[in-house]
């Protein structure tokens, strides 16, 4: 269609609670039920009635009266037309429609899940690419190929040779604006607006959970789910896609938000599964392995839930595993400081998902793996710290400093966390001679040390005066956070040979690789202090070079 051709205008008005108050092709809407403020009583020349459950029981329009009978699951079972039985619906135990009978003509439609149905004597196999209907292969020898618009509504139907057989244009709320049957011998499609079945006998769309009236722009029964309680519009349980039909679709008939989760739920689920797998990995496997396994689980879960085949699942698992391992590696090297960047990376990839379907599982795997590895480490740090705290009571050695790395171990000797760092000023070694040089050499290895979380000192606890003193090289934090970081903790000396040295601290600070005498300066102190804060009492520290 050339731009501007067949242009049309429709106008709509709404009230503050999501009710349509005016629709130019219908007229004004009236909502006069006191206890059902969202149930439209009249719309233009159409009058409507409802039962106490909010189900439409009667619709009178153009002299035709449709009566609707509902079952206990709020599903329509029988529609009468001017008092005569007209359409009968049958459902399975899950409330899914399995049969529709046109009692006036005797035409029966049977539904066998998403991919097969029988329309009269003709079988129809539906082919999908993920959730997009591609074609319907009929046993009468015809194949209907669907060409959808941005909402997935069938717009052009072609046959196996590519010949256009049918064209459909829609008004915003789903009524047919123009439907051209270009070949009378070619069967018309039944799945049209947003790929929902058109119950052409009644003019309603079958949105699975509910029936939708495109003329009114309303569902004929109330949604059983209020998916977004914080949104006033969500309480309007008859409205379609929060009255934004050009942007949203509603494949399930529940709410646009629940459908959002239908679309993305696989990825969310993948992330959770990945995280769970990573968390359950033994601590000794480290964040890289945990992240990789978490990523594999996340990618595979996401792909499976999103309907991928075996190849897709394997591909997603491989990508997820690789990304998870990378995430774990980043975390291992950069600790918690890397989390914001990894979250940002995951979010960017997840955003890319919308436009690039191929990145869907990739993003899920990445996010799952990263989440998994991070959660694994933090969770293990926290939980294992409790074990380490207990271990401290039985004189185990949960903390060890080897000159390059401070590591925490559990009661069984499994490493539950490690932090790179430096002790001794630049140029110093771990030799005995340097260990005794006050203010220069590293912390001596002959001492019996411990660290108490109760003794943690925080820059944020200082008064403004103390901070000002630090700024001019005075006070107990002289050098400021540049030298000590935001948090530091003294290393208590319980005994042993410390060569008359003391006042060792564990701290952070800028100037990577530049030590501060016998203190242990960590590269990623945040993670360590989170670990330490979770301890119940003093933790023994062993120094062994």
């Amino acid at each position: 269609m050339a731009p501007g051709q067949n242009a049309y205008t429709r106008s709509y008005s709404y009230d503050r609670i999501g009710n349509i108050t005016y629709k130019s092709d219908v007229g004004s809407y009236a909502y006069t039920y006191n206890n059902q403020p969202h149930a439209v009583r009249t719309a233009g020349a159409v009058s409507l009635q409802y039962d106490l459950a909010g189900n439409m029981t009667q619709k009178v329009s153009n002299g035709v009266t449709l009566g609707i009978t509902w079952n206990a699951d709020n599903k329509p079972t029988l529609i009468t037309r001017n008092g005569s039985d007209y359409i009968q619906y049958t459902y399975d135990g899950n409330g899914t429609r399995v049969r529709k009978v046109n009692l006036a003509t005797g035409f029966v439609t049977r539904y066998y899940g998403e991919v097969y149905e029988e329309r009269g004597t003709t079988g129809v196999i539906h082919l999908f690419a993920k959730t997009t209907r591609i074609a319907s292969v009929r046993t009468d020898g015809t194949i209907q190929y669907y060409h959808g618009n941005h909402l997935g509504s069938a717009s052009v139907i072609t046959d196996a040779t590519g010949t256009v057989k049918e064209t459909i244009e829609y008004l915003p709320f789903g009524s047919y604006r123009d439907r051209q049957d270009l070949d009378g011998s070619f069967p018309n499609v039944n799945y049209t607006f947003t790929d929902q079945e058109d119950d052409d006998e009644t003019g309603l769309y079958n949105y699975r959970a509910r029936l939708y009236d495109p003329l009114l722009g309303r569902f004929i029964s109330a949604d059983s789910i209020v998916s977004e309680p914080g949104n006033l519009q969500a309480f309007n349980r008859y409205s379609y896609c929060v009255n934004n039909p050009l942007v949203y679709t509603d494949p399930s008939g529940h709410s646009w938000l629940s459908d959002f989760f239908d679309d993305f739920g696989g990825d969310f689920l993948g992330g959770f599964v990945g995280a769970a797998v990573a968390v359950l990995c033994p601590p000794a496997w480290g964040p890289v392995i945990a992240g990789m396994l978490g990523g594999i689980a996340a990618g595979a879960t996401s792909a499976a839930v999103n309907g991928a085949g075996l190849e897709g699942i394997l591909q997603a698992a491989a990508l997820g595993g690789a990304m998870g391992a990378i995430g774990g590696g980043i975390y291992l090297n950069y600790g918690t400081d890397s989390i914001p960047y990894m979250i940002g990376g995951g979010a960017a990839l997840a955003t890319a998902r919308a436009g690039l379907e191929g990145l869907s599982h990739f993003a899920a795997g990445f996010a799952g793996g990263v989440t998994g590895s991070v959660m694994a480490n933090d969770w293990l740090a926290n939980t294992s710290n409790n074990e380490a705290g207990s271990a401290a009571c039985v004189e185990d050695d949960p903390l060890k400093w080897n000159g390059r790395e401070l590591s925490a171990t559990d009661a069984k000797g499994n490493e539950i966390g490690s932090w790179g760092g430096v002790s001794g000023r630049t140029g110093s070694t771990t030799s005995q001679a340097h260990q005794r040089i006050r203010g220069y050499g590293p912390i001596p290895e002959g001492g019996q040390y411990s660290v108490n979380p109760q003794s943690i000192q925080r820059w944020s606890d200082l008064s403004w005066y103390q901070k000002a003193l630090a700024a001019v090289g005075r006070g107990e934090w002289r050098g400021g956070v540049q030298t000590w970081g935001n948090t530091r903790v003294p290393i208590n000396i319980q005994g042993g040979t410390v060569l008359s040295r003391g006042d060792f601290f564990i701290h952070g600070g800028a100037y990577p690789g530049v030590g501060t005498g016998g203190c242990i300066k960590l590269q990623n102190p945040g993670s360590f202090f989170r670990y330490l804060s979770g301890q119940n009492g003093s933790i023994p520290l062993t120094v062994k070079y």
């Binding site: 006050r438 005075r474 008359s500 006042d503 203190c519």
Partner: protein, 154 residues
């Protein structure tokens, strides 16, 4: 109208009155034993990292040197090594006799003798070189610390 020389002379006097003299007086002022004890207690109880754990006595300056030199002769003095080093940081020559005494005392632990050498070095480099040679010959393990002193690393 003042000429330039007269102006400079007056500026010099003003500087002496407002900056140099007060600073000198503060650094050489006498300190009561009570005040010295208070500062020493702060030093003993201070809970700060090693590089700044002598801040109270170093900040007290020359006034505390008489008390500190007396205190460091006590072998059970808390943080004794840091106090010895602080004498070097303060740079008061009055500390030299006590520092030399510690350095030359072979019954002292080697690291206290090395601390004394470091303090002497910072007060009087030539004197420090002399004692460094002596200590190096006597104790080869001290060569590392002497190298660091000569390189200006400690």
């Amino acid at each position: 109208m003042l000429d330039n020389k007269a102006l400079l002379r007056r500026l010099g006097v003003a500087m002496m009155i407002f900056f140099v003299f007060p600073t000198y007086m503060c650094s050489t002022r006498s300190m009561t034993p009570e005040e010295a004890n208070r500062i020493l207690n702060l030093f003993y109880l201070d809970n700060v990292p090693e590089p700044i754990n002598d801040r109270h006595i170093v900040d007290a300056g020359r006034a505390i040197v008489p008390y500190l030199t007396k205190e460091v002769q006590r072998r059970d003095m808390p943080k004794r090594g840091y106090a010895i080093l602080a004498l070097g940081k303060i740079g008061d020559r009055r500390a030299l006799p006590v520092l030399i005494q510690i350095l030359e005392d072979r019954t002292e632990l080697i690291y206290f003798r090395e601390d004394a050498l470091r303090a002497i070095w910072h007060i009087d480099r030539q004197l420090g070189e002399k004692f460094a040679e002596m200590l190096g010959e006597e104790n080869p393990d001290s060569i590392d610390i002497i190298k660091l002193l000569r390189n200006g690393q400690i």
